[in-house]
Subunit: 228 residues, 2 copies
Amino acid sequence: MGSATERRGIPDATVTRLPEYLRALTSLADTGVTSVSSEELATVVGVNSAKLRKDLSYLGSYGVRGVGYDVTHLSDQISSALGLTRDQAVAIIGMGNLGRALAAYNGFASRGVEVVALLDHDPAVIGSRIAGLTVEPVADLPRITSEREVTIAMLATPAGSAQEVADLVVAAGITAILNFAPTSLELPADVQVRKVDLATEVQILAFHAQQSRLGGLPAEPVLTEAVQ
Amino acid sequence: MGSATERRGIPDATVTRLPEYLRALTSLADTGVTSVSSEELATVVGVNSAKLRKDLSYLGSYGVRGVGYDVTHLSDQISSALGLTRDQAVAIIGMGNLGRALAAYNGFASRGVEVVALLDHDPAVIGSRIAGLTVEPVADLPRITSEREVTIAMLATPAGSAQEVADLVVAAGITAILNFAPTSLELPADVQVRKVDLATEVQILAFHAQQSRLGGLPAEPVLTEAVQ
DNA sequence: AAGTGTGAAGTCTTTCACAGCT
DNA sequence: AGCTGTGAAAGACTTCACACTT
């Protein structure tokens, strides 16, 4: 995956967890909590507390020994490490069912994500209004990207056109893609791609479901314990 | 823990990749390819060929030295390893934007996933038809689960009610959950949970986007190479 | 000649366990 | 007394490189 050549290098595994810590901290702050120990926060997120402390140590020393972490300060530090000092401007491409659901998703605003453009190449959809935005033609992507400082594209096209659209996205100067199309993209190494494939997720669950069926009841005591 | 039980321990990392291999194989089969080498398949999926071979070796020896893998046979073996010999019956809970998009998603059928129930607890939504199914009350989950042999639940509720609904899901006898609500669930260890958090994905991308901005051009030769 | 299957080496990640600070 | 921060150990995963098979 993405290798960081930095002396400052935060491990990839840590980066993927930082957003979860941030979400948990925000939720704690909302309930009036101002200070939290690694043990408490780890329980909320469902990870080992040593792992949490090590993750945070990559950002610097923001805890107080004997006390814990200041919720607000730690949130700020994580936000800053993630580069969320400004909202991320996102363009959604492909206005099918999924694209429309993404456009209407209201979980983004509070977490530093702003949808600034909706695109499609079907003339029947272009010009219609979805979630307060007007759908624009994919051909306008270069202009839109520079005008609205788009940093991330969400690809919600059919698998068949995903590669083609991804190439346009990269040509428009966007270097981060969240790919919902069930296909692998071939792109330059400096373009970050993460994928969300729903059927893949279900198949992974199917495997584990099958395992517990086969493994059955024998041996293995089942403790109620936060996992993952 | 690691007792001598002869169950084939397929590593987690491998399991998460099997669905992708399967997807790539299906796509190759559709274009008439009948045999494929690890190098070719690895290129399509975007992984190292040694990793692919090692992954496949956990399933058994299905390749032919000097030749490669039979596309159909390998697909069958992976399907079988994943437990996809039957379709997975899925219930979607929470008929907001996301739930409706999931219900209407047409990428499931061809990949062994069948949506057999849509549930909500809002009386205003219950009874309406979405994507050919009638929305039913969450209270009916236990009956529906046993009647339709539901194995997996997709949670598309707001974060606030996710834990509560997850508890109902588990009580109904379902042991695998795909959680789209942006919150961590506390569940018994024998329940498999995978989560899909859209804002988290964007934040991870934001981090990497920031890195390339900071790191700039120096060092780091950029090879065009399939990543992810 | 080509390409699999796999020990062994290398890298990354998690967990332990405790010194050290408040 | 309590909890962080972190070396060191353990474990998981990836990649190399080549013996072996067709």
